[in-house]
């Protein structure tokens, strides 16, 4: 393999394309005059598989730059803390879920320091409660169900 970017992109395209086509088998193709729900997705899925194959083949013919390291720490922290926030926000309420989100995400930075982070967490929490809950009426609990909110 001479171009890892093309290779892995190709693999992803083929995977998405195959999933699309296989699932669409159940949808009914219909005819061009009266297209069934499976017609358009099947066409797109096949197209994606073709492009993926071209990308795969090209990855062996043309050399390209390496993918470069994944920022695993930042990736896990940002995606993970967002997931966690959505998971617990109703149970623990914004006043706890927001500081957790802010502190966790701040930890992803190389410049992480406790002092500014805690101040930031407090500031963002107060701002969000005032603007989103009180001001705009977003239906998120300030105190979660675990604490009788």
């Amino acid at each position: 393999m001479r171009n890892p970017k093309d290779f892995w992109a190709g693999v992803i395209y083929i995977a998405f394309g195959l999933i699309a086509v296989i699932i669409a088998l159940d949808y009914g193709m219909g005819t061009a005059l009266r297209m069934g729900p499976g017609y358009f997705p099947t066409v797109l899925g096949v197209l994606l598989i073709v492009i993926g194959t071209v990308s795969l083949i090209r990855s062996f013919l043309q050399s390209g730059s390496p993918i470069g390291g994944f920022a695993i720490k930042g990736l896990l922290i940002i995606v993970g803390s967002t997931f966690l926030f959505a998971l617990i926000v109703r149970e623990v309420g914004l006043v706890i879920a927001l500081p957790i989100l802010v502190i966790m995400t701040s930890y992803a930075s190389v410049h992480f320091r406790w002092g500014p982070t805690l101040a930031l967490a407090a500031g963002i929490t107060i701002f969000c409660v005032l603007v989103f809950i009180k001001g705009l009426g977003v239906p998120l609990p300030m105190i979660g169900s675990w604490f009788g909110g």
């Binding site: 297209m35 729900p37 940002i78 930075s109 989103f132």
Partner: protein, 503 residues
């Protein structure tokens, strides 16, 4: 003289105290996020979209528009003072703007950028007022076949104008179209690709995709190359360009405005491509081309005029056809739909106050921006010094709460996180998210128009070629595709788009 009456109506709409306030709020926020590296207009507008639901439609759209063109002004400040583009469209401004700052001419560079942007904004506003009405007249005659062909042209253009590999841009378009089909099929009522998850029955919201791929992904990418920013000039002295400077900036501003306006209308580009094109053309035609890269005032004037002109003319396809030309316009269309306005050629007839109000507000907004960016430059210089580690947790929080408030469900926050992950993987593989988002929004519409067109033609695919407007649009799409294959063009494309885009 209908134009003057229309502009009068627009002025009356835009100048109400409430709308003036939202226009100012929009351009202020726009300048702010333009100045801050790592936060672009797409993520900001996606984030703020839910908040605008409580506003009347006109105020909401005036503010959102202000954020977009305001960010073009703000982006140049950071480019000039820190050598980091505050906004993707200001990448080329770093080349000469920062050099000017190092020579102690930061004030002049900032003034040039602001003056160029203001002139370009004024011209672009007039262009929208002149060309939007006749275009919507034509668009009113569009049937499903024309709309389908128009979307094909839009997607092809977004592929041609995307950075990086063509093959991957096409793949991203197809993938975006597929993801857009998730949800209930309007014709058969069948649920497609929902995996029995009831939350997916209405499809994935485009705001979820946009905040994920433009908000979260950008944060992860910025954390990867976190570095200490140092602002080299904190005191800006002498904003006034000299007589010689004025003489040198006039032609580049004119050319930049022209190029930016033309390129801005093209789908998939918006302001970024215009800035690149204007810079490379200016470098070729200028008699001071030897100075480029060493602090030539032309190298600031041309791209800064072009990006502001492009940001505004990209409203033309959105306002007249209801077709987004870039992710920001897609979000504007979303805002209209949520406000109960069906975007398309009929907007100008059914909502004249809204249509002309937005246009006039753009000029007022540009006036605000001139004041915000010249006398108040010191404020923005201080904003640049806000460290990123205090910024991104706030961005993430607003994204999460904003996305939640669309449907009041945590499920959307989970989906946003997922798209953040997906966006990061794709960015590592050199795949651009912009064509995907565009296709994602057009996916369902395209399928719908394709079905209707073929139903009307009794299944005859020739309908796309026998109808003249549709045929012309498809021919243009084909032409664009072939142009890429011509070596000379593809070399220009690489040159113009080669620079690494920031947020």
């Amino acid at each position: 003289m209908e134009l003057i009456a229309n502009l009068g109506l627009g002025l009356a709409t835009a100048i109400t105290p409430a709308n003036l306030f939202y226009c100012f709020a929009g351009v202020f926020l726009g300048t702010l996020i333009g100045v801050l590296p790592g936060l672009g207009p797409t993520a900001t507008i996606a984030m703020l979209l839910p908040i605008t639901f409580v506003l009347p439609p006109i105020s909401a759209l005036i503010m959102l528009a202000g954020i977009y063109y305001g960010s073009q002004y703000g982006g140049s400040t950071t480019s000039i003072l820190v050598n980091v583009p505050g906004e993707a469209a200001s990448v080329v401004t770093t080349l000469d703007g920062y050099q000017m700052a190092r020579q102690g001419r930061a004030g002049v560079a900032l003034a040039t950028a602001a003056i160029g942007s203001f002139f370009a904004g004024t011209v672009a506003t007039v262009l929208i007022a002149l060309f939007a009405p006749p275009l919507s007249e034509i668009a009113l005659q569009f049937g499903p076949a024309e709309y389908f062909s128009l979307m094909v042209l839009g997607l092809v253009a977004s592929v041609v104008l995307a950075q990086g590999s063509l093959l991957h841009a096409i793949a991203m378009v197809v993938l975006g179209l597929l993801l857009g089909l998730i949800g209930t099929d309007v014709n058969s009522g069948m649920q497609r690709y929902t995996f029995d998850i009831s939350r997916l029955a209405d499809g994935i919201g485009f705001v979820v995709v946009a905040t994920g791929m433009f908000g979260l992904t950008e944060i992860i990418r910025n954390l990867e190359r976190e570095e200490q920013r140092s602002v080299m000039i904190t005191k800006i002295a002498n904003l006034m360009p000299t007589k010689e400077d004025w003489k040198r900036m006039v032609a580049p501003i004119l050319r930049g405005t022209l190029i930016g306006s033309a390129v801005g209308i093209l789908p998939g580009s918006g302001s970024i491509l215009g800035a690149f094109a204007a810079y490379s053309i200016e470098k070729k035609v200028s008699k001071n081309s030897a100075e480029f890269g060493k602090g030539a005032i032309e190298g600031v004037a041309a791209p800064e005029s072009a990006n502001n002109a492009g940001a505004q003319t990209s409203f033309i396809p959105m306002l007249t056809l209801g077709i987004p030309s870039n992710p920001v316009m897609a979000l504007m269309i979303g805002a209209m739909i949520i406000q109960g306005i069906q975007p398309g050629p009929s907007v100008i007839k059914e909502q004249p106050a809204l249509f002309w109000g937005i246009i006039v507000s753009m000029w007022i907004g540009n006036l605000f921006l001139l004041v915000l960016n010249l006398p108040m430059i010191g404020l923005w210089v201080r904003m640049i010094m806000v460290p990123y580690q205090l910024l991104y947790p706030a961005i993430l929080t607003f994204c999460a709460i904003g996305v939640f408030s669309l449907n009041n469900t945590e499920f959307d926050i989970h989906m946003m996180a997922l798209f953040g992950l997906l966006g990061y993987v794709f960015s590592k593989l050199g795949c651009e998210p912009a064509p995907m988002l565009l296709a994602f929004i057009l996916g369902r519409l395209m399928e719908e128009y394709l079905r209707r067109a073929l139903l009307i033609s009794r299944g005859d695919p020739m309908v796309f070629i026998t109808r003249p407007i549709s045929a012309t649009l498809l021919a243009l799409a084909l032409l664009a595709m072939f142009a890429v294959l011509i070596p000379a063009f593809s070399k220009t494309r690489e040159e113009a788009l080669g620079g690494e885009g920031a947020s």
